[in-house]
């Protein structure tokens, strides 16, 4: 059912439901009210019937009373007269008839009958009646057949009491009449010898009764004492049939019962299922006219009752239909309106769904419940528009900032040199891991002149493009002003003043700069507000405690304190920015100086390796946490001066040249005499090895000497065929000479005579290094 309903439109469903409910309520109401109304109408009609009947009965009683009064008066007067006093009789009767004439009664005649007490049938009539011309006619006649004319008289009791006859047809006029009489005794008579009577024409009564109308079809029925119908719509019954006879005839025992009850003095009504006159069921109302023992009935068709009810029902039904139609119309209109609104909204929603948000609307024209949907849709539109606008803006911003980031990063990247100079006196490595947003860190290294090398580590305040530009400016200034100028104090002074120039945004830069004398290892440095660098000596890396100077870019004409240290061969300078020590892990803890120092305990002589070591330490510490600042590091290893360098053709003829060189060099480095000899012997061996075997044609031997960790090293390198002499087995010097081959002795000597010896093959060069302890 529900499924079936759901297939139809909202209007249809609503209509069906509401109409069903309304009809149910209406029919229940109609049924209920009909019952009530029927009862009320029934009661009302009964009451009206009763009143009508009572009124009529009252009228009838009054009429009969009048008649009785006249008769009684006549009797009273006559009982004071003699029987033979005809003149008196005439006066009395004339007066009586005149009285009647003055009343509403339609009488026929007033008469007196005198008779001998012993024989009623023979006597004299004295009659007074109106003629057609309006005159009163008094006449008398003798008769001998009184009973023939008035057969009912036999039933009249011989008492001085009013007696009403049954209706009968007057033989003279042929009219239905009824007679009211009273027996009496003339003056001085012992026995009844007279009758005073008034004969009343019933036609008037019949007429008035027949004219009586009750709810159009209702009829009054007058019944005489014997149950004879005095009036009846059916002429075959009126004055011809009694109620009892009719009851038998139409086989309706209820009618007989009603008649009996009526004549017993009861009032009531019965329902007769079918009446030939009314051609349907009727209600038969009865009441007695007690004075004369007659009865009065009211018959009316039951349809009289139904009519108002039917009318009520028809009106109700029409009302219902009109109501339902109106309701349908209204529902349809409302639904149509709502559906239209919904349709309108759904069209909009579809439009929005396609991404077309051009059409906006106000919620106000919508009905209250749909307004919620409309509002939601309107809100959705606004939100989506806002959101897309925001997204678009965000994307644009992102793109912009991304490109800005890119620019800044490119500036930074371009500024940072990654090409390390190849130099015997030092080895350098740098590292720069930029944060997502450029932080403004930079490092630099450059030759000031042939023997002076500068390393710089700096951090510009701020981030992004401004920082990148300021970084570039700082770097350029430092480089340019440092050119051929080893007065580092002057460099800082001038760079600072330049940076102060037009620095409205109060940007600044922290700088550590060191200039190394590559020959002597002397270093002068200035720390302008930068994190203290680390120095690696024999004891490993440790933080320096440089004098504090003002950061650059803030105060004009600042002087900067220069400090000096001497680097021994193998010493390192480790420069970094706070991106290293302040690398942050997920618990918001900094990597810190302790961890830095600790990890550098594992440092090697190779700067590159050292930087990677630190980086791996930081990565292990911060784990997945996003890098917040640039990580910038520089490791500078001082390898000593390049004085001890010699390049010779690989020929034994040059042996003495090499030995001369070594002698001078070792003397300079204070190599002990005995060690000097060992070195020379070993060196000769290596040199002649190279001279004899390394090259097929001509080649050179590069000799480098240096001191590191109190060891004097001599490094031989040749680009001849790859050969590791240390892989040779040592000759067994313990064997007897006979059993021993004379060969491989040279490298054996070299091994024995040096304190350290190592071989490597780097850049297609055989490198053999021997070393002797200086102490």
């Amino acid at each position: 059912m529900m499924n079936w309903l759901n297939k139809h439109s909202l209007a249809f469903r609503l209509s069906i439901t509401i109409i069903a409910c309304v009809c149910l309520v209406f029919f229940v109401l109609i049924y209920f009210i009909s019952g009530r109304v029927e009862k009320i109408i029934h009661a009302q009609i009964n009451h009206t019937a009763q009143e009508a009947v009572n009124a009529y009965a009252g009228d009838f009683n009054r009429l009969t009373s009048d008649v009785e009064q006249i008769v009684t008066n006549t009797k009273n007067t006559l009982s004071q007269t003699r029987e033979n006093d005809v003149s008196s009789l005439e006066v009395v009767l004339n007066s009586a008839i005149q009285t009647v004439e003055n009343s509403d009664l339609n009488f026929t005649e007033a008469w007196v009958y005198t008779f001998p007490a012993e024989d009623v049938s023979t006597g004299t009539f004295y009659i007074s009646k109106y003629l057609k011309n309006g005159k009163i006619d008094f006449s008398s006649k003798k008769i001998s057949n009184f009973y023939e004319a008035f057969p009912w008289f036999k039933e009249v009791p011989k008492k001085e009491k009013i007696y009403w006859s049954e209706p009968y047809i007057d033989v003279d006029t042929g009219k239905a009449v009824v007679t009211c009489l009273i027996p009496f005794k003339f003056k001085d008579e012992i026995d009844f010898n007279g009758l005073a009577a008034l004969t009343v024409d019933l036609s008037t009564i019949q007429k008035s009764i027949n004219n009586f109308s009750f709810y159009e079809t209702g009829k009054l029925l007058l019944l005489s004492r014997s149950g004879l119908y005095v009036t009846h719509p059916d002429n075959n019954i009126a004055l011809k049939m009694t109620i009892f006879e009719l009851s038998k005839k139409i086989n309706l025992p209820e009618l007989e019962t009603a008649g009996k009850k009526m004549f017993a003095g009861e009032t009531g009504n019965i329902w007769i299922p079918h009446s030939s006159v009314y051609n349907g069921p009727v209600i038969f109302f009865y009441t007695p006219i007690k004075k004369i023992g007659w009865g009065l009935c009211l018959v009316y068709a039951q349809s009289v009752l139904l009519k108002p009810i039917q009318r009520f029902q028809i009106i109700m039904t029409i009302g219902l239909l009109v109501g339902i139609l109106t309701l349908l119309f209204i529902i349809n209109q409302i639904c149509k309106h709502s559906t239209n609104q919904l349709l309108q909204l759904s069209k909009l929603a579809e439009k929005y769904g396609r991404g077309d948000f051009s059409e906006s609307f106000k919620e106000t024209p919508f009905s209250s419940d749909i307004r919620i949907l409309a509002k939601a849709l309107s809100n959705m539109r606004t939100n989506i528009l806002d959101y897309t606008e925001k997204e678009r803006k965000d994307a644009a911003d992102k793109q912009k900032s991304q490109s800005e980031l890119e620019i800044a990063r490119n500036i930074q990247k371009a500024s940072l040199s990654t090409k390390y100079p190849q130099h015997e006196a030092f080895k350098i490595a740098t590292m720069m891991i930029p944060a997502r947003e450029v932080g403004g860190d930079f490092y630099d290294f450059f030759f000031i002149d042939q023997n002076h090398f500068a390393v710089v580590m700096a951090d510009v305040s701020g981030k992004g493009i401004p920082a990148a530009l300021y970084m570039m400016k700082s770097q350029t200034l430092i480089r340019n002003i440092s050119k051929n100028n080893i007065d580092i104090a002057d460099v800082f002074y001038r760079v600072n003043n330049e940076l102060c120039e037009g620095n409205d945004t109060c940007m600044f830069v922290t700088v550590f700069m060191a200039v190394v004398d590559l020959l002597k290892g002397d270093v002068q440095y200035v720390n302008a507000g930068h994190t203290p660098p680390m120095l690696k000596t024999q004891n490993g890396y440790d933080f320096m405690s440089p004098k504090k100077n003002l950061i650059l870019g803030i105060s004009r004409n600042t002087t900067f304190a220069v400090e000096k240290i001497k680097l021994n061969i193998g010493d390192h300078l480790f420069l970094y920015t706070d991106g290293v020590t302040e690398a942050e892990n997920a618990k918001a803890k900094f990597y810190g100086t302790d961890r830095l120092k600790k990890i550098l305990q594992k440092a090697t002589d190779d700067p590159e390796t050292n930087l990677n070591l630190v980086l791996s330490g930081i990565k292990k510490f911060v784990k997945e946490n996003a890098q917040s600042d640039d990580i910038t590091m520089l490791d500078f290893a001082y390898l000593g001066s390049s004085e001890g360098r010699l390049s010779l053709p690989a020929d034994n003829k040059n042996l003495s040249k090499m030995i001369d060189f070594l002698k001078t060099d070792m003397a300079k480095h204070c190599v002990p005499q005995k060690k000097q000899f060992n070195v020379i012997v070993a060196a000769e061996e290596i040199f002649s090895n190279i001279a004899n075997y390394a090259y097929q044609k001509d080649g050179t031997v590069e000799i480098l000497t240096y001191v590191h960790d109190n060891i004097y090293y001599v490094r031989f390198s040749d680009s001849g065929k790859k050969y590791n002499p240390l892989e040779h087995k040592d000759p067994d010097v313990t064997l007897d000479l006979k059993d021993r081959k004379i060969g491989g002795l040279g490298i054996f000597l070299a091994k024995k005579l040096s304190d350290t010896i190592s071989y490597s093959y780097e850049k297609k060069k055989n490198i053999l290094t021997i070393g002797v302890h200086l102490l």
Binding site: N652, K653, L655, S656, K657, I659, Q673, K674, F677, N678, I680, V681, E684, E685, S688, A691, N692, V733, T734, L737, K738, I742, L745, G746, F748, L749, K752, L753
Partner: protein, 106 residues
């Protein structure tokens, strides 16, 4: 045709009753050492003595020559001695374990 820049090795030989004393002066290096073998005539020599007093360096090539002489003398039933070996050269012998092979005296 000697290259004035190249170190030389001078040999003074004294023969006496089958004993040959060779006074060496200069370097025993790859350039000079092979010559020594040619310069020394071991005919009828029972005992070969190298006076090392004026030897500046003995490199492996020199040692090799000395060891060759030793081998030759041993095969001929003679002997070989090094005398007046400078301390530093002697320490080279000691450092390399050659002192066990060569009879070298200061």
């Amino acid at each position: 045709m000697t290259n004035p820049e190249l170190p030389e090795l001078k040999v003074e030989q004294q023969r006496e009753n089958g004993t040959l004393v060779c006074k060496l002066s200069g370097w025993l290096d790859p350039n000079t050492s092979p010559d020594l073998l040619c310069k020394v005539d071991l005919t009828d020599v029972r005992s070969l003595v190298f006076d090392m007093a004026n030897v500046e360096y003995v490199f492996s090539s020199g040692l090799r020559v000395l060891l060759i002489f030793q081998k030759m003398m041993e095969e001929a039933g003679g002997n070989i001695r090094l005398i007046n070996v400078p301390e530093q050269i002697k320490s080279v012998f000691e450092d390399t374990g050659l002192d066990k092979l060569l009879d070298a005296k200061a």
